[in-house]
Amino acid sequence: MLVGDWLHAQTNAVAMSTSHAPTIITSERADFDLAERHAVYRSNVRVDDPQMKLTCEEMTADLPQSGGQINHLVALTNVVMDSVDEKGQTKHATSDKAIYDYNVVNGVTNETVTLTGNAKVKDGPNWMTGEPITFNLVNHAIHTMHAENESMIIYQETTSALVNTNAPATKTNLPPGTADLPLPKTNFPPGTIQNIDKNTTQSGTTTQ
């Protein structure tokens, strides 16, 4: 996905790139350890790829042999990533750190970007936070896991919700925050009514 020959997802499962445009990395300064095949881009780093744009303050890359592919990248400080999938859906992500990993194990391609440090992803109208947030670039899935309660928080953009509906707000007597409570466990078979006053029918009338 990220950088052409060095970084493209090389898989038939999901063609990440149909474009033949090159990937361009610009920065003010760069250090190349040609013995270790390691590069560090510094200051105003920008990656322009057919699938995504990324900016950050510093980025390190393990350079491959000729004709190979970069399999590890680390972007640091003020990381901003914008991508468009094959359906045209945009994703906007920000974080302190982003790690790109690519490998093929037993014929299976693994390609991920992991965001940590104030990570946020805007996926369509939704904002997601978590620690870390992981993009699976092969199947386009996004996973997140909070360090404490293993959950993600998804916010829907208020503006788009208001603009896209004329329906009145649903009335409810439930206290705030209870709508998504899980159902209590029960040993009753499906359809069994429990905890109901035996003197009360389903229509609400009381029998004598």
Binding site: V3, G4, D5, W6, L7, H8, Q10, T11, N12, A13, A15, S17, S19, H20, A21, P22, T23, I24, I25, T26, S27, E28, R29, A30, D31, F32, D33, L34, A35, E36, Y41, P50, Q65, S66, G67, Q69, V104, G107, V108, T109
Partner: protein
């Protein structure tokens, strides 16, 4: 793959117009003059001591003390199979023969041997002893997309 660099020193060789080079470690320029087809080679450590790790060459070199003013610099790196890896080119640079350091405020271009990717920028410093290149301004890396590989998925 980690390359084992030869720390024994820089072995210089050149086809010299005025004969100011000698073979061996850190050859010193004997007189001011002019050299053509300059090259400086560094070898791997044993057991690959017969194989070149890198070669720094120039179309023209003019000595100034322990420095050489090189025109049309070309720096090549190789792996232990002798396969070319990366090529660095610069219109001109100053090469410190004793310390194996080249630098220039001018343009520099780094490209893979297969031509698939390249890096350009302005101003550079090259340390031959540890193969370390710094490009100090306006760095741009261009990577052409390669053919897709089949993964069986």
């Amino acid at each position: 793959m980690k390359k084992m660099l030869n720390n024994a020193g820089v072995i210089l060789s050149a086809v010299v117009a005025l004969g100011f080079f000698t073979g061996g470690v850190c050859a010193q320029p004997a007189t001011t003059g002019h050299a053509n087809d300059f090259s400086s080679v560094e070898y791997f450590k044993p057991p690959h001591q017969m194989l070149m790790a890198s070669r720094l060459s120039g179309v023209e070199a003019q000595p100034q003390g322990q420095l050489l003013l090189i025109k049309q610099l070309k720096l090549e790196t190789f792996d232990t199979n002798g396969v070319p890896g990366l090529i660095v080119k610069a219109p001109n640079c100053v090469y410190d023969v004793v310390h194996g350091v080249a630098n220039s405020p001018g343009h520099v271009r780094l490209e893979t041997a297969d031509g698939g990717s390249h890096v350009e920028g302005d101003g550079f410093l090259w340390r031959q002893t540890d193969h370390f290149l710094t490009i100090s301004n306006n760095v741009q890396t261009v990577i052409e997309p390669g053919p897709k590989k089949k993964t069986g998925l």
